[in-house]
Structures are given as C-alpha cells and as structure tokens.
C-alpha cells in the first residue's frame, strides 16, 4: 500500500462494505485517513487532512459509503467533520444540546442512511447520515461511553432504534422515552441488514424489530385479515362452524388475498418450523377459497423456508433470516456452502429450488471436482471418480477442472480429464499451455474450428524445428492446407519449401509462374518460367510444360520486337500481339507467329479480317478473301464490314455466303426483300421468323403477307 502508510504506523482501521464489495478505512498516527474502496483492486485514496486534529485529538469516527461515494464522519472535541475525497467540511448537528463538549461514540446504520452519536452527557442523537435531519434523541444518563453502539432496524422500518452495550447491560433506545434493557455479560454485537446479532461466549442471539406483519397477526385481539385467517383455520381444524364466521368476515371486506399474503409473509419471519407450518397451512386454507390467486409466492416460500431451515441446522450453522437470504440470493448461499465444502447439501438445494444447471448443480460439481483434484489419490482414481459423478452434465467444463489439476502440478491428471471434455475447442488452449502440441492439433482439427487449427499450427511452428514441423503437417492434411493458405498471404518463401518438401511439382510450377509475374525484367521472368517448365515436366503435366515453353518463346519474341520497334508488346497475349502486328501492317511478323505458334487457320483468318476491317483496308480484305477458300465462311466478312459501317464492301461477300446463312447476310446489309425471297424459297420457319422480326411499318405490306403465308405453310409441314 501507499508510502504514507509505510512511513506512519496505522493506529486504527475500519472495515466496511461498499458498492464495490469490501473496503477498508485507515487512520495513521499522523491523523491522516486513507480509504481502499475495494480490497480486491487495492487502489488507495488519501483523504485531505483535517485541520486541528493534531491538537484537539480524535474521539471517534465512522465510514459512510453511499451511492458509490465513501465519506468519513469524525468527531474531534465538539466538532463534527465530514471528510470526502477532496474536501473536509465542518458540520453542525441539528437539534443537539449546545453544552456538549465531546462525542464518545458514533455509528452508521447498515445501509449508511442513518447515524447515531453518543455524547459526553449520555445523550444518544439519532439522525440521517448527512447530518441534516434529526430523527430522535434518547438520554440514557450514563456518562461512561458504551463499549459498542449499533443500529438495529429492518429495511423500510420507520422506527429508529439503536442498541448500546456496556459491561453488563444491553440497552435498546428509540424514539420513546422508555428503553429496553437486558442484563448480559461479555458479548459482542454485529449489526446486520435487519437486526443485530448478539454473540456471547456460549450463545448466539438475534435481536430485531418485530415485523409489522407478525405483529398484526399475533397481536392480542388483532382483527387484521391475517390474524382472522389464522383463527379461521384453527377453528376449521377443530371442525367448528366458527371457521366459516371468521372467513366470512374476511371475505366480506374483500380481504382474503391480503390475509393469505400476510400469512405467507409472516411465515418467512418465523424461526420455528411449527409456527411456519401453522401460518402456511392457514395461507393454504385461505387460498383454497380464491380462484385466481397465483400459487407462486406460496410455493416459493415453502421451498425457500425448507432451504433456510436446512442451513439453520446446527450442523451447518448458518442462521440466516429470510430477509438476509433474499438479499444474498441463492447463488451466494450456494457459493458459501460450496466454500464450506458442503457439496451434497448445496446440490440438494439446487435441485430443490430448480436452479438452472449451469448455475446450480453443474456449478457445485465443478467446485467439488476442483477440490477433488487436489486430493492425494492416484490420478486414475480421481479422474474416474470425477467422470463418474459429472458424466455429461450440461455446463460442466472439464477443461476448467483440468486447468486446476495442471495448476496443482498434475499434468497427467489434467490430460485424463481433458479427454472427457466434449468441446474440443476448449481443450486446445490448455493442451498448448501444457506443451502437448500434437494432441492439441488433433483436438483442434476435430473441432472443425479453423482458427483453432491455425493457432496450434503457429504454436508448433515456433516450438518445433522446421523439418519436424513439416512432417507433422504432412500427417494432418487439414492443417497443411490451412498453413499453405497462411504462407500464400504471409510467407511466400516458406510456401516453396513446403512444396519442395512434399515433392508437389504441379504446385511448385504454379508457384514459379506466379513468381515470374512479380518480376519486371524479362530475363528474370524467363528464368522463373523455365523453372516452372521443369516442374511441370516433373509433374508429368506435358500440356502445361509445353504451354509455358510457348510463353517463354513469345516473351522473347515480344522483347525482340519491342527493342526493334519501341512499341510495347510484352504482356500482350499471342492473339493481341498478332492483331497489333496486323494493324500495323507487319504482316511478315504476324505470319511468322501464325506459323511458329501453330495458330489455327480459323482464328488466324478471324484475326486478319478483323484487323483489316478495322484499319479500313478493304482492298487487302478483298484480296485476302480470294487468296483461298475461307475456313470461316464468308458471313464473317459481311459481319466485319458491317461492324465498321461499310455496307458497300459487305455486299461484295453476300453472294459467297452459304445458302443456310444467306438470309442472315442479306439482313445484315439491310436487304430485307432479298432476305425474304430466299427465306420464302427455303421455306425455313426460323429464317421466316427472323425476316418478319425485321419488318416494320415501312416494309411493303405484300411482302409481309407473303412471308406470313410461307410461314403458315412451313408450320404445316
């Protein structure tokens, strides 16, 4: 803790509960205060100094922790100060005799809303903790300071009451002038949420204000609905008709639901099972006259009382009140039982209260198992015992238990336990921590979660030497392909090694092809491609090897051409290269490529006529068309001409088009009538339709009629 504390010895410390769990307030010899609001995170706050403390001394102080703020209230002589994180304020206590010269004791209520001050005159001042409002005052006339002074009130009670203790006297003071006094020896008071626990050397008692409901029911001659219902039930048991009278009285006032609720509530405040039963039976009796009263409260109360009675038993020894139990929640109760290793009772309670497994039974079993792994028994026995008990209970994490075992230095037991873990994903991190990489890899693959596989692979990569690592991967194809993907994006060089290791020539070749495209220099690219050719050959992929050889040939040719002509050729496809050459009129080079690369005639013809048409070299086109019989027919000629808006040239080739395509050719050049004539002559339905689809308003009527007639004729056929 802070240096302040190491230099000055602590004279007093008060432990308090805050919104952040438990805190400690510390007073040093130098009259300086420090506060830790949560002992878990140990952040320490130095509070400002209080002026004059050194001289006038400090008589008493207390902690108020409200709304996430912690303040100290302290008394020095006749002054009261409120100290918070950045200021110290002097306060006047309202309604207090000005003659007071000092305060001997002070105490804050459990919820920090109220404060009690004990003065040197024997007067007890009770008020709000902000010291703005006075609630009451009691003069007990003792001048000796009490050993202890604590609040005794239940939540939402309007009665301020304080319990004071002297050597042999216990005094309860409140608003009234009277006090209650008990003779006692040697005891200690513990203020709690709804009362005061009195711990003596031989006894343990609980002092609390009688709850309003109990008072109403059990008060002599009470006419409260609950009291009447209880009475009715008593009469009913005696088989007396008075039962009906009482019931009627409640029902006439429409108070039966209230009566039932009162009885249920009162049962919660009672400690004797017999009294609880009496009240609950009365409630149940009243309930049977109500048609739409939800049974939930009744059932919950019965269940919870059963639990409370069980933990109040002396063998367990947790004398919780109902209010405290509700405040704590079942979860905390179970945790406390687990902490005391009362596993069977905890499990029974979980089952009885029907708590969801992962918060209830599984939770308890997990703690039991974590305790079990610390026992000095053989690993096998423990693993067996745990599995026997836990089985496949939902929400059990065997890996958590295994982690505990590993923590306790029992890795073998941890592995045995991990084997029971159904979620393979959960096993992996621990296995890695235990340096069981291979096992972790198996489990990761089993889970199907590729991220886990990656995680293990990366771990193995760092842990193993390269050779072993590759060998391991080889045994696990899933891991191998994932690692390949990783390398593709992150470590290109490793990828090559990996393929080499596996003699995967095909992939290696692809790798070189890819590499070659990273290179700017043609020579380097050729070298890379040459490696690819070798690998493709080794992979017996003759096609790819040959194609890549061709690529090298083309690259070299393009390079040469580029040097000669200063035009960019490299990286164009063979097709595009030839096309540019044709456009530029380098027919010699084009021819050379056509021959060297064995470009099919058909494609070469397409290339040539497209290029010629594009550069409007109609003369050359016509010459070419006559050079030999076109392998692509003559419709192609018509098409390229039309594409470049030269119908005149196009028409030259129409006559050469084969009869089946003639209709199309005529239509292309816009000769609808000729097309129609041929279509009608050929009686081909598709052709006729085609022509008809081109007819429009301006077309000759008679032509359309003829076409339609021919079509119907073709249809019949």
């Amino acid at each position: 803790m802070g240096s302040e504390l190491s230099q000055n010895s602590v004279t007093e410390a008060k432990i308090f509960h805050s919104a952040y769990r438990t805190g400690v307030a510390i007073l040093t010899k130098a009259y300086r205060f420090s506060v830790v609001t949560n002992i878990e995170d140990q952040k320490i706050w130095r509070l400002p100094d209080v002026p004059g403390l050194q001289t006038s001394g400090l008589s008493c102080w207390t902690v108020i922790s409200q709304d996430r703020q912690t303040k100290l209230v302290l008394a020095s002589g006749r002054n009261i100060y409120v100290l918070d994180s950045d200021s110290c304020t002097s306060v006047t206590v309202p309604g207090l005799d000005p003659d007071i010269s000092s305060y001997l004791h002070m105490s804050a209520s459990f919820n920090y809303k109220y404060l009690a001050l004990y003065t040197n005159t024997g007067c007890i001042w009770m008020g709000t903790s902000n010291l703005k409002e006075k609630l009451g005052e009691f003069d007990c006339k003792f001048h000796a300071p009490p050993k202890q002074m604590v609040w005794c009130r239940r939540p939402r009670s309007q009665q301020p009451s304080v319990v004071l203790m002297w050597d042999s006297l216990l005094l309860v003071a409140g608003k009234s002038n009277e006090s209650i006094q008990y003779p006692y020896d040697e005891l200690y008071l513990v203020p709690e949420l709804d009362g005061v626990r009195i711990i003596g050397s031989k006894s343990h008692e609980f002092l609390h204000e009688v709850p309003a409901t109990c008072e109403e029911i059990f008060k002599i001659a009470s006419m409260a609905p609950g009291a009447l219902l209880l009475e009715a039930h008593k009469e009913y048991k005696k088989e007396s008709q008075k039962a009906d009278e009482y019931l009627r009285e409640i029902k006439d006032q429409n108070l039966l639901p209230t009566a039932v609720e009162q009885c249920i509530e009162a049962a919660g405040f009672e400690y004797e099972p017999e009294t609880q039963k009496m009240l609950l039976r009365a409630a149940s009796f009243g309930k049977s006259f109500l048609s739409n009263f939800s049974p939930e409260r009744f059932v919950t109360m019965c269940r919870e009382l059963r639990v409370l009675n069980a933990v109040r038993d002396y063998t367990v020894g947790m004398p919780l009140t109902y209010v405290q139990f509700r405040q704590l929640t079942v979860q905390v109760l179970i945790d406390r039982l687990v902490f005391r290793r009362l596993y069977p009772l905890a499990i029974e309670i979980c089952k009885h209260l029907k708590i969801r497994e992962f918060q209830g039974v599984s939770h308890v079993l997990k703690h039991w198992a974590c305790f079990k792994v610390q026992q000095k028994e053989p690993d096998e026995d423990i693993a067996h015992a745990i599995n026997q008990k836990l089985g496949d209970t939902a929400g059990i994490s065997y890996s958590e238990i295994a982690a505990k075992a590993y923590e306790c230095g029992r890795p073998e037991l941890a592995i045995m336990l991990l084997d029971f873990e159904p979620q393979s994903g959960e096993q992996v991190p621990l296995l890695l921590k235990m340096k069981r990489g291979q096992l972790a890899l198996n489990k990761a693959i089993e889970s199907g979660d590729t991220d886990l596989v990656y995680t293990v692979v990366m771990y193995l990569k760092n842990e193993m030497n390269r050779r072993d690592f590759f060998l391991t991967l080889r045994k696990h194809p899933v891991a191998l392909s994932l690692y390949r993907q990783f390398c593709k994006h992150q470590e290109q060089d490793t990828l090559k090694d990996l393929y080499n290791q596996e003699d995967d020539h095909q992939e290696l070749a692809n790798f070189y092809v890819q590499e070659s495209y990273q290179e700017a220099k043609v020579e380097v690219r050729v070298a890379e491609l040459q490696k690819a050719v070798d690998e493709y050959s080794k992979a017996r992929n003759e096609f790819a090897a040959k194609a890549t050889e061709e690529q090298i040939k083309l690259l070299k040719f393009q390079r040469k051409l580029q040097d000669e002509t200063d035009k960019p050729y490299v990286d164009r496809s063979l097709h595009d290269t030839v096309y540019s050459l044709l456009l530029e009129g380098s027919h010699r080079h084009a021819e050379q490529l056509y021959k060297d690369f064995k470009i099919p005639d058909k494609r070469y013809w397409w290339l040539k006529i497209s290029a010629l048409a594009e550069k409007n070299d109609w003369e050359e086109l016509e010459k070419f068309s006559k050079s030999k019989k076109s392998p692509i027919g003559y419709l192609a000629f018509v098409e390229v001409c039309v594409k470049h808006q030269n119908k005149y040239e196009a028409k030259k080739y129409v006559s050469k088009v084969t009869p089946e395509l003639k209709v199309k050719a005529h239509l292309l050049v816009g000769e609808v009538e000729q097309a129609a004539d041929i279509a009608i002559e050929r009686k081909n339905e598709n052709d006729l339709n085609l022509v008809l689809s081109r007819c429009n308003q301006s077309t000759d009527r008679s032509l359309v009629e003829r076409l339609n007639k021919a079509r119907s004729g073709a249809n019949k056929k």
Partner: protein, 597 residues
C-alpha cells in the same frame, strides 16, 4: 423496414431481430460517441441487418473505410473496428492504432470481429504491440443473414473456392455454427439429409456441436422438419447455364449484390413535361430488390417470357384504379380514393421501374449473341455433340469475347460430357492461353481442380444417364404457366432442385444409382427431439442449404415447388452466397498482372 422477412412460413425476422439486438448491445458497451472503421467487405452484409439510423441512435457519428496509415480526424470518444478476422486486416489496424497513439489521442479502441473472434488475429495484434490498446474485443456472430422471407445467405464470396480449391473449411465451420444458431431459435431439426463431402463435414460438425451442448435441451417446437445439405460440386452444371427467370437475368446481366442491383440510368429518367432531357444522370440507378415490393415478388421468379404479360396486365389495373377518381362523387368516396393514393402511387412507380428493367433485359435477350449462346448451352445440356470442339466457342474465342463467357461454355461442355477428350481439352486450353494470355494457366488449373474442367477418363460418359433419370431436360416446357421446375432455364431442370424434389417424393432410394455417379457421399441423420415436441403437421418445411452458392433460378425453382400442392414441403433456402455463372467463375480465377516496365 424488414416486414418482408416475416411473411413466409418461417419468420426470419426473428433471426434479424436477434442480430440487431446483439449489435445494439455491443454498441452500448462502448459508452459515448463513436466512429466505426469498416472492413469494406462487411458493409453490404451489414446493410441487411441494420441501417445507418440504428447505428446513429447508438451514438455512431462517423464511419470510415479501413485503410492503411492514420485514421481521419473525428471528434469521438470511441473508435470501433468492424472487421473480418484476417491477418492482413490486423496489420492495417495495428498501423492505425499506432499512429493514433503517436498523436496522443485519448480515444478508446474496440474491435468487433465478424463473424467470429480469432485467436490467431489477437496474437498478431499482440505481436504488433497493440492488443493492450483495445478495451473491448468482441465477436459479432453473423453467419446466416436473412436476405428475404425464405432466404438466408452467409454472403461469403469465396466459400466455394476455399472449400474445393484450397481445402480451407472455415466457411463450413461457420455454416455449422449458423445452423446451430438457427436451431436455437427455431428448434432442433429432426432430419438431416445430405449429399457431398462438404455436406457430410457440416453434418458431422453439427452433430458434434450438439453433443457439446448435451443436456441443455432445446424446448422449442421445431419449425423445420428437414435439413438438406447440398454441395455445390454435386451440381456443377446449373450455375453455368444462363438463368432465364426475371431475377436471374437481372443478376446475369447487371449483378445483384447484397440485395441491390445497379442499372444503367437512361431508362429511369422521369419524363417531365416541358423539360427536355437536359442533364442525363451518369450514376447508375441503384434499386433494392426483394419481396417487400409486391410487384417484384410476383414476377421475380417467372420465366422472363412470362413477365411482359404480367406487367401489361398490372398497367391496366393501375390505370383503371387511377380512373376511379372520376367516379368518386361523394366526399366519402373521394376521401377513400385519396387514402389509397400512396399505395397506388407506389405501385405505379414500381411498375415503371420494372417496365424499364424488362425493356433493358429484352434488348439483350432478343440479341443474336444471346440467342446463339443459349442455343449452344441447350445443345450441351441435351447432349448434342458434346465430345467435339464446338465451332461457336471457337468463333467466340477468335473474336475474343469475354473470357468468362468462354470459360462458362467450355466448363459446361466438360460437365455435360463427364470430361473432355485429351485432344479437345488441350485444344480449348491452348486457344484460351494464346488468345487471352498465358497467365490464365493458373485459372485453368483451378477449374480442373474444382472439377469444372476435366479430362475424360476411360469411364463412360454418365451425364446422359443422369439427365434421363433425373429428367433434367424437358422438351414441352411451359414458360407462362409452368408445371415443372424446368421453366427456370426454359427446358433444363436444375439438378440440385431435382434432388430436393425427389428426396420428398419418392425418396432418394429410387435414384441410388445416379446418386453414386454424383460426387461425395449421400447420407441421412436423425436428431432426437425432446419428448413432447414431436409434431404431427401436414405442412412440412425443409431447410435446404447450398454449400458453395445458389443461383436465383434455383431459388425460383424451389419457390415453385413450395407453391405446388404435390411438392409436399415448403422450402427455406440457405447458401454460402448467391451466385451466377459469372461471379462463380470469377471467384475461381487467379489474376496475375506483371508490374509495369
């Protein structure tokens, strides 16, 4: 906003709401004003879950796209990275954070991983020394995104490539997880059928995950009766064929991404009187396409040839409805007319939009190129001359038509011939390399690896047997009033959907032989239901999951089966991604570009 998700048999809005709730909760965990830095890939899928307004309600004030370097200035307390778990992305984030730290900004950093946290990525952040800078590291489990009333998608573009080329089954793990989420919301699915390696793997993972959660029994009455898992590689043919439904064609021609299509704007100009078309819009028109639009719901799944009739009928109805105003005499009648006006106007603008789209598509479908291409496709699918080099493909290569078109056709021929002869295959490959460039050797290699291109082995061509047994080709197809699923491709009945159809009636046992010819195992698994949840319902619901992508035409075919009475079941469709032949082939291509000289 998303009412159309709850129209169907299964209320998929439940899933969307669950996803939205989770998003809101995460945003609230980062108290104060925030800026989101987006992995660009995620914005589309997220749009299906939440609009900007939701983010704004939770104090998101700025949005940036993830880029290397430093973050743009923004006066916000929190910076949240919405990213996929990828190492490259982690490096960018680390760079962003480091430069922020250098500038001594006092911002809180958070990461939201979609769809799952990754140890690997967190390690990378740690290596980069920035892991400690993050206040929240969380995951946003977004496996199956509700896309439409009967459609879920993982929007995972590369799923097919990863599964079949790279042997990376990450997306299958997410699929299995997504199915577990679905089961948590809609009850355990009692029957699981599947065909294919990936299907088997997903089913295994599901059963395993179920064991992991043993004990926490799901007490929800099952909504789905059956789950059918199908590998895309069981049916490689269907996506290659050109889809002929309205929605399919929009996707083929313009592409639909995350439910939106971008269309050429010319046809959508509002003709205002007295104003010449002075400023032509250059931005493409972006339209959201889903069943929320009444008209679209009606025509999306029709064969395109049947769409015109519907549109003109609709036009008549709408103009008649507008004419009604002349008949409205009393104040009450006028009031009633006016109250209907917004709905009528919406219908009119919807009609105008779809008429424009239909015109755009018609220009293409009536073109010769489209017709020729379709003819060749249909020849292949009917088994005509699939063993020879096809002249049309040859001519297309010679004229350097788009490479993807060529690849689609060649692959189709290969699939319809159960592989090509060495001579034919080598010829095509050589032609492609010479024409489009040698760099495509890797793409061709990929296609071979995926089985789309294949060398015919000694085995007999079994495609005709498959075609005949499964009735994949129907000659008498009725496009207007279909009586069979084959209407979606004007003759070809998608193999995948046939498998689903036969599974319901008469059962897969009747086609054992054919199932053996298709790749991967077929299987059946049962999941025990808690007693009391067995239902006796006549209306069965099947969840069909396409691992590796599904086309709009297949979806249309399944919707058709859901509607016909003898179908026997209604379908909810899930997929890793909505694909078409082009996007699919593209995902399998390797782009190689040389650095400039």
């Amino acid at each position: 906003m998303a009412a159309h998700l709850s129209y169907g048999r299964v209320n998929l809005n439940v899933l969307r709401e669950a996803a939205r709730k989770e998003l809101r909760e995460f945003l609230d965990r980062c108290a104060g004003s925030k800026a989101i830095v987006w992995d660009e890939y995620l914005t589309g899928p997220f749009g299906l879950i939440a609009q900007y307004s939701l983010l704004k309600e939770h104090e998101v004030e700025k949005m940036f796209t993830l880029k290397p370097g430093s973050l743009p200035p923004a006066d916000v307390k929190n910076i949240i990275f919405f990213v996929r778990p990828k190492l490259e992305i982690m490096d960018i984030i680390a760079g962003n954070v480091k430069s922020e730290v250098k500038q001594r900004s006092h911002r809180d950093f958070h990461i939201l991983f979609v769809p799952r946290r990754s140890l690997l990525c967190e390690q990378r952040l740690e290596e980069q020394g920035v892991l400690g800078s993050f206040i929240n590291i969380d995951q946003y489990i977004l496996d199956l995104i509700p896309y439409d009333g009967d459609l879920l998608s993982m929007e995972s573009e590369s799923a097919f490539r990863e599964c079949y080329l790279e042997n990376d089954q990450t997306s299958l793990y997410h699929a299995a997880k997504g199915l577990m989420t679905l089961q948590a919301l809609y009850g355990t699915i009692p029957q699981i059928y599947g065909k294919g390696e990936c299907a088997r793997h997903v089913a295994n993972m599901m059963l395993r995950m179920k064991r992991e959660f043993a004990g926490s029994q799901n007490q929800i009455l099952p909504v789905f009766d059956t789950l059918l898992l199908l590998d895309r590689n069981v049916d490689l043919l269907t996506p290659l064929a050109t889809q002929l439904t309205y929605e399919g064609l929009i996707d083929e021609i313009y592409g639909i991404t995350n439910g939106y299509a971008k269309l050429p704007p010319e046809k959508f100009i509002q003709k205002k009187q007295g104003e010449g078309g002075k400023d032509l819009p250059t931005e493409p028109k972006k339209l959201q396409l889903n069943s929320a639009e009444e008209l679209y719901a009606e025509i999306r799944d029709k064969n395109f040839n049947a769409v015109g009739a519907v549109l003109s009928k609709k036009a008549k109805i709408i103009s008649a409805a507008f004419e009604e105003r002349h008949n409205a005499k009393t104040v009450g009648e006028i009031k009633q007319f006016v109250s209907q006006l917004p709905h009528m106007q919406a219908a009119r603008s919807s009609l105008a939009n779809h008429t424009s789209i239909a015109e755009l598509i018609k220009d293409i479908t009536t073109s010769e190129a489209f017709f020729d291409n379709l003819t060749v496709e249909q020849e292949f699918m009917t088994g005509v001359d699939t063993d020879k080099v096809n002249t049309y493909i040859e001519d297309c290569i010679a004229q350097k038509d788009p490479l993807i078109k060529i690849l689609r056709l060649v692959c189709m021929q290969s699939v319809c011939n159960n592989g090509l002869k060495q001579k034919v295959l080598d010829y095509y490959k050589r032609e492609i390399l010479q024409t489009y460039g040698y760099e495509h050797i890797l793409t061709l290699n990929n296609l071979e690896k995926a089985g789309l291109l294949k060398l015919q082995t000694n085995a007999r061509n079994n495609y005709p047997t498959i075609r005949k047994t499964l009735k994949l080709w129907m000659d008498d197809v009725n496009e207007q009033n279909p009586n069979d699923i084959s209407y979606v491709y004007s003759g070809y009945a998608p193999l995948s959907v046939r498998l689903a159809q036969i599974l319901v009636r008469p059962g897969w046992r009747s086609i054992e032989e054919v199932l053996k010819m298709l790749p991967g195992p077929h299987f059946e698994e049962r999941q025990q239901l808690p007693s009391g949840l067995h239902k006796k319902r006549e209306n069965r619901t099947t969840l069909i999951f396409f691992l590796g992508g599904v086309t709009y035409a297949e979806i249309a075919a399944l919707r058709f089966l859901s509607q016909v009475e003898e179908g026997g079941t209604e379908y909810i469709i899930a997929s890793t991604k909505l694909i078409n032949g082009t996007s699919w082939i593209k995902s399998l291509m390797d782009k190689l570009e040389a650095p400039p000289f």
